[in-house]
Symmetry: C2
Subunit: 216 residues, 2 copies
C-alpha cells in the first residue's frame, strides 16, 4: 500500500516534469537542475556563472530552500530574475514547485534557467523537475568516498562540479580514486574540478555551458 | 489523503521508537543518534570517541548508509560491535531499521550505542529512532548560514559538534553568528567546536558524554 502511494506520487511528478520541459522548450530556455549537499557551493557557482555570462546570456535563477531567502538575496544583487521556492520542510524540489516558479517568470526573456535544489545528496535525485540537465556539486571537504555512499545522485548527474579544489593540499581527497568511483557508476559523466573561491577551473565549466546553449 | 498516509507512517514510527527506547533502558544502554550532512565527520567523531573511551565504556555502533560498508569497515577495525544498516535508497534511518539492529546486538554487554544516521541535514530529523539524545555535526566548510536553511535539524538536536575547526583560518565562518543563529532556534543546545583531525576540543565532548553516562 505504501509503495503504491509513492508510485502514484512519482508518476504524477513525472507528468508535471514533462509539462515543465515542454514549456521550457517552447520558450527556448535551457534549464539546469543543480544539486549537492548543504554548503558544497551551489550559490557560489551560480554567482560565478552569472558574473561570466550575464553580458552574453539572459539568465534567471530558481532558488530552492526549506526556509530562508539567504541565497535568493545574494543572487538578487546581480539584478537578474530570481524566484525563491520555500519548500516548507520538504527535502527536495518537485516538478509542481518548479511549475509554479516557471509561471512567475517571463520565459521568453530567458536563455538559461539555473535551478538550485535543496541541499541534500539523496532525495533531489529521485524527483524530476523538467530541467534538461541534472548536475551536482561535490566539495573536497566531503571526501572522495561519496559516490559509494550516495550512488543515485552520482548516477543521475550528467555533470559533476568538484568544488573547493583550493583545499586539496590540506585534505585527504584522492581525485583519481574519486574519478574511478564515479565513472564506475556513470561512465559518460563530465567532471569539472573548480574553486568558486579562486575562480580556478571555472572557464572549463563556462565553455561547456556555452556549447550546450549553442546546441539548442 | 497524502498527508494522512504520512501521518500514519510517522505514528507507526513513533510507536516503534518508543519500544526501542524501552529495550535500551531495560539494558541500561545510552543511545545517541548522530546526524549531519554527507562528509561532516560523523565516522571520524565516532572513531575519536572510541579511542578515548573504549577502555572505560563498552561501546557499539550502528552504521546507517544508503549503500556500502565503508564506515562500518573503518569502525570494525576497532574490535567493537558494529551493525551496518543499508537503507537501500532511503534517506534516513527509521525506528524499524534501528529495532532490527538492536535485535542483532548483545545489549547487556553495551553501555553506549552510537547510531550513525544517513548523511542528510533534512530527513533524519523527522524520524525518531528511540535514541536518548539527538545530536548533529556541522563542519566549518558547510558555512555558518545552515541553521537558517535547515532549521528542523538544529531545533531537534540537543548537542551540536562543530567539526573541522582546523579549517577556520582558511574559510569565512563566523562562529559568533553561528551560535546566535542556533540559539535563536534552540536556546538550550550545547555546541562543541572540535577538530576530529587534530583532536582539538574532543576532550570537552568526551567529558559531556561521560557525565551523561554517569547520570544513567
Amino acid at each position: 500500500m505504501k509503495v503504491k502511494v509513492l508510485q502514484n506520487i512519482l508518476d504524477a511528478n513525472d507528468q508535471i516534469a514533462n509539462r515543465n520541459r515542454q514549456v521550457l522548450d517552447k520558450a527556448g530556455v535551457l534549464a539546469i537542475n543543480i544539486m549537492s549537499s548543504p554548503g558544497a557551493g551551489k550559490t557560489s557557482l551560480i554567482l560565478q556563472t552569472i558574473a561570466r555570462l550575464k553580458d552574453k546570456v539572459r539568465i534567471a535563477v530558481v532558488e530552492g530552500d526549506i526556509a530562508s531567502t539567504i541565497d535568493a538575496d545574494r543572487i538578487g544583487k546581480e539584478e537578474i530574475s530570481v524566484v525563491q521556492i520555500n519548500t516548507g520542510g520538504a527535502c527536495h524540489l518537485d516538478a509542481n514547485m518548479v511549475s509554479n516558479a516557471l509561471d512567475s517568470l517571463s520565459l521568453e526573456d530567458i536563455d538559461l534557467l539555473l535551478i538550485e535544489n535543496v541541499g541534500n545528496l539523496v532525495c533531489p535525485a529521485e524527483f524530476k523537475t523538467g530541467a534538461h540537465k541534472q548536475m551536482m556539486l561535490l566539495s573536497i571537504p566531503e571526501g572522495d568516498d561519496k559516490p559509494y555512499k550516495y550512488p543515485l545522485m552520482f548516477t543521475e548527474s550528467e555533470v559533476i562540479i568538484l568544488n573547493k579544489i583550493d583545499l586539496l593540499p590540506l585534505l585527504d581527497f584522492d581525485i583519481n580514486a574519486f574519478r574511478q568511483a564515479v565513472t564506475g557508476l556513470n561512465p559518460r559523466v563530465k567532471i569539472f574540478p573548480v574553486s568558486c573561491k579562486t575562480g580556478e577551473g571555472i572557464e572549463e565549466w563556462i565553455s561547456w555551458l556555452e556549447s550546450e546553449l549553442r546546441g539548442r
